[in-house]
């Protein structure tokens, strides 16, 4: 042993003793530290005073090719209207830098100096736009760090589906109350914001105050898309009327030797999603929650319909119809397998249908219409009418707040307007080309739009594709009409700011429990244990908060 080691008085024994002491302090002190941040989330329903919702002043700039029969269906256009109305008059911004934090599903954009779209939007809005973008998987950490750091961007687009904690507190401390600017007739100063319907604005009210601008989205839930070309080639119908017919359909198209499978699951925000939002509708399981007549809420995992749903998914797994990698399939891979024809179905948001059809003209995409497990209409799960809520940084400078609202008013311009065209297509010759009179976003445009400025605010979304796909647009419109007729909503959706500390882990435990049953690691009866663990782990607390909020709104 070296003399240096002998002389070193911080030896192994004393270090281990110190480590044991430190770990003990951590074990005892941990819960105390956790308690510091574990306050109850305030209700997102009505507070002491509830401001009126903004007035709804609809504008339809261009006549749609397919007019929506109900509010839950999107108006559809096959081409961008040639006569584009100007809906924003005057200068929007003040020429100063504007920082904004958004989620992104695109690649990082080229720098400003090489980004024609970014320069074009800066000129249109008269701002120096400085985006802070974070990929979906990283957004919670980035958001938490940015808020904790105190350097709040001018605008933050907060996704409403992520269960981010402490949102109501943030709206009181760091974000501006927009009620005086938007409530009632005040919104008339921003006509494009007034074009957003009242149902959507309900989601923008926290503790009775209007706290942000929505990025509107269609409410039709995720469809089960199919490769029509391959189904036709195989001579198999993709419109079953019962669960048994669906199973037979899967069996008919699955051929492991040809590396072809009927279904693929994929990793979602909380774990593997086994197209539960499609199968749940088939078996009549609640869309997350069901509100009973006595005002009580029942979670889907507490119902027999949900167990039937999982049992069916397991039956499909046992039949070998799910792709073998389903339990850990990335969305990217599931999509790639669908496009390559190795998996014949794919389920994602309704907007993904148009995107994949436009990006992959060689394949033909259709959809499985809703049906009931034992026949009948079945149900589809409605989504929230917005993707995110853009909050404005708290400021005593009213002009600054108004400037931000003018920017958002521009971005929410309705389909058919010049402003909407600018945001969707960018600079002519650089981001889009006119081919046979039809503007088409080119590949540079798609890349440069990674700036994601359009994620700050959207008006009512049209059913439209910048790359013309007439047949697919008609198909989607017809599907939306059918799906909306049997749409089932989640009664807790408007109360999205309500969370519990363990929100993410609670959801992950449920999806993990489903995966265990589907893949055969656990029996179906284990769902009872999953439900019990969910209840005692925070589910009952969450239920109580939602019930109180719903009751307060009545």
């Amino acid at each position: 042993m070296s003399s240096n080691a002998i002389n070193n008085k911080v030896g192994r024994r004393s270090f281990i003793k110190g480590a044991a002491f430190g770990l003990g302090a951590l074990a005892l002190g941990g819960p105390l530290l956790t308690a510091c941040g574990n306050g109850a989330a305030p209700s997102a329903g009505a507070g002491s005073s509830v401001v009126p919702l903004p007035a709804y002043l609809p504008q339809v700039i261009a006549k749609p090719d397919f007019k929506a029969p109900t509010a839950g269906v999107q108006n559809a256009w096959l081409r961008f209207p040639t006569d584009r109305a100007i809906t924003v008059k005057g200068v929007v911004g003040s020429g100063k830098p504007v920082t904004a934090m958004t989620i992104t599903y695109a690649q990082p954009p080229a720098p400003l100096e090489q980004n024609a779209y970014w320069q074009f939007m800066n000129k249109e809005l008269n701002i120096d736009y400085k985006p802070i973008i974070a990929a979906a998987n990283d957004f919670p950490a980035k958001f938490a760090a940015t808020m904790a750091g105190g350097d709040i961007p001018d605008m933050v687009a907060i996704p409403v589906f992520m269960g981010l904690p402490r949102i109501p507190e943030m709206y009181k401390t760091v974000f501006q109350d927009l009620s005086e600017h938007l409530s009632g007739d005040a919104i008339k100063e921003y006509p494009n914001l007034a074009n957003i319907d009242s149902e959507t604005w309900k989601y923008c009210r926290v503790d009775g105050k209007i706290v942000g601008i929505p990025t509107a989205r269609p409410t039709v839930g995720p469809p089960l898309m199919v490769r029509k070309d391959l189904f036709d080639q195989l001579g198999v119908s993709y419109n079953p009327k019962t669960a048994d017919e669906f199973e037979a359909m899967c069996k008919a198209v699955t051929d492991p030797k040809a590396n072809r499978y009927a279904l693929s699951a994929m990793l979602g925000d909380f774990g593997t999603t086994w197209n539960t939002r499609v199968f749940g509708g088939i078996f009549g399981a609640p869309n997350n929650w069901k509100l009973e007549s006595d005002g009580k809420l029942v979670r889907d995992i507490e119902t027999t319909e949900f167990k039937d749903t999982v049992a069916f998914m397991k039956k499909l797994w046992d039949g070998g119809y799910w792709h073998p990698d389903s339990a850990n399939q990335q969305v990217a891979t599931a999509k790639a397998l669908f496009i390559s024809g190795n998996v014949l179905t794919y389920s994602n948001g309704i907007a993904a249908w148009a995107t994949e059809s436009a990006n992959n003209p060689k394949i033909d995409i259709d959809v499985v219409y809703p049906f009931g497990a034992k026949g009948g209409k079945g149900a589809t799960y409605n989504n929230r009418p917005l993707f995110s809520l853009t909050a404005v940084k708290k400021s005593s400078d009213k002009e600054h707040t108004k400037e931000m609202l003018r920017i958002l008013n521009y971005l929410c311009a309705p389909f058919g307007s010049q402003e909407n065209f600018n945001v969707s297509f960018g600079a002519e010759g650089k981001n889009y080309d006119v081919v046979d009179g039809v503007p088409k976003v080119n590949k540079t445009g798609q890349a440069e739009m990674g700036v994601s400025i359009s994620r700050l605010g959207n008006g009512p979304q049209p059913l439209f594709s910048a790359i013309p796909i007439d047949k697919d647009i008609k198909r989607q419109f017809d599907y939306q009409v059918a799906a909306d007729a049997v749409g089932m909503s989640d009664p807790t959706m408007p109360y999205w700011p309500i969370t519990v500390t363990q929100m993410t882990s609670l959801e992950k435990a449920i999806t993990s429990g489903i995966t265990d049953v589907v893949t055969g690691r656990q029996p179906l009866s284990s769902l009872d244990e999953v439900a019990k663990t969910w209840r005692t782990g925070g589910g009952d607390e969450l239920r109580k908060k939602y019930e109180d909020a719903i009751a307060a709104d009545k």
């Binding site: 240096n4 911080v10 990217a332 999509k335």
Partner: protein
């Protein structure tokens, strides 16, 4: 090779074996060779698939269910796409610069700190060593680290990827342990000859510590090269993102890297695999040169005396 030559080789191998090992037989050596070849094949197979898929066309990928083992037709479109778009090229440069600069700074600071903490009687040696060892027990957490980086004015600055992680306690302890095993008589001899501490470190200790410095350098380099989370947290400007963050964004979200110079878009899987090849290539290129130091260095501290 003649039977006599083979036998001679076995004899030499047999004579070179440790005293406790029996004489190798033809069968034994044969089985060992087969086992090693199989293990190598298992390890190399994923690399083969990655490279092959990156060079495959869409038709081959479709025909093979998403991954290709032996492409019959080679296409470099995925690589053209990647380097043409500008996003990955820029990210690659950022990663390279951060790795080289960060590794140099980390090695320098780690060696200096380890030397100081290994010298008996250094000022505040015991308290400083205790503080370093405490970092094994407690991680600061995302928010405190972010606040510290922000207060240092390093947000949106490449130094945020280097300075907060410049010295790793584990590496420091490894290097310190190695320095402590260097005979004290060497230092005393240097001191008698008039060498100060700096000269002793750089002209006596460092040359004797090449193995451990190479190993720790490789640890640091791989850590900097693979870092994406700190870039996501501290770099608000996405044009400053390093390669791993761009790769993660693309692979997890499958967003196409588009370029208007290519008539058709290369298949998504081949672009993903091409990005993986580019991300892994520098490490694979550098490692063989450090491998001989690794085998000596990883045992540092494992054997005392």
């Amino acid at each position: 090779m003649s039977a006599q030559t083979i036998a001679a080789k076995f004899r030499v191998a047999g004579e070179a074996r440790p005293a406790w090992a029996g004489r190798p037989t033809l069968w034994g050596s044969g089985f060992r060779a087969i086992a090693v070849i199989l293990l190598c094949a298992i390890v190399l197979f994923p690399f083969l698939i990655v490279i092959s898929t990156s060079l495959a066309t869409q038709d081959q990928i479709n025909a093979n269910g998403g991954f290709v083992i032996f492409p019959t037709e080679i296409s470099f479109q995925a690589y053209e796409q990647i380097f043409n778009g500008g996003v990955v090229t820029r990210a690659l440069l950022v990663s390279a610069l951060v790795t080289i600069t960060g590794t140099a700074i980390s090695l320098l600071t780690t060696v200096l700190a380890a030397y100081g903490l290994s010298r008996t009687g250094s000022l505040f040696q015991k308290p400083l060593l205790t503080i370093v060892l405490l970092t094994f027990l407690f991680a600061p957490g995302i928010i405190p680290l972010y606040l510290m980086v922000k207060q240092m004015g390093l947000l949106n600055n490449y130094w945020a990827l280097i300075l907060p992680v410049a010295v790793n306690a584990f590496n420091l302890v490894i290097v310190r342990g190695f320095f402590m095993n260097i005979p004290k008589e060497l230092m005393e001899a240097a001191r008698i000859d008039g060498a100060g501490e700096w000269r002793t470190l750089f002209q006596i200790v460092a040359p004797l510590s090449k193995a451990v410095i190479a190993v720790v350098g490789l640890f640091y380099a791989v850590s900097y090269w693979n870092a994406f989370f700190s870039a996501m947290l501290y770099l608000n400007d996405s044009t400053m993102w390093p390669l791993q963050l761009v790769l993660r964004t693309y692979v997890l979200q499958s967003t196409p890297l588009v370029s208007d110079t290519l008539a058709t878009l290369p298949p998504a899987q081949s672009i993903q695999m091409a990005i993986v090849v580019i991300a892994v290539l520098p490490i694979v290129a550098v490692y063989p040169f450090l491998q001989r130091h690794m085998s000596k260095g990883v045992l540092t501290g494992a054997v005392k005396g």
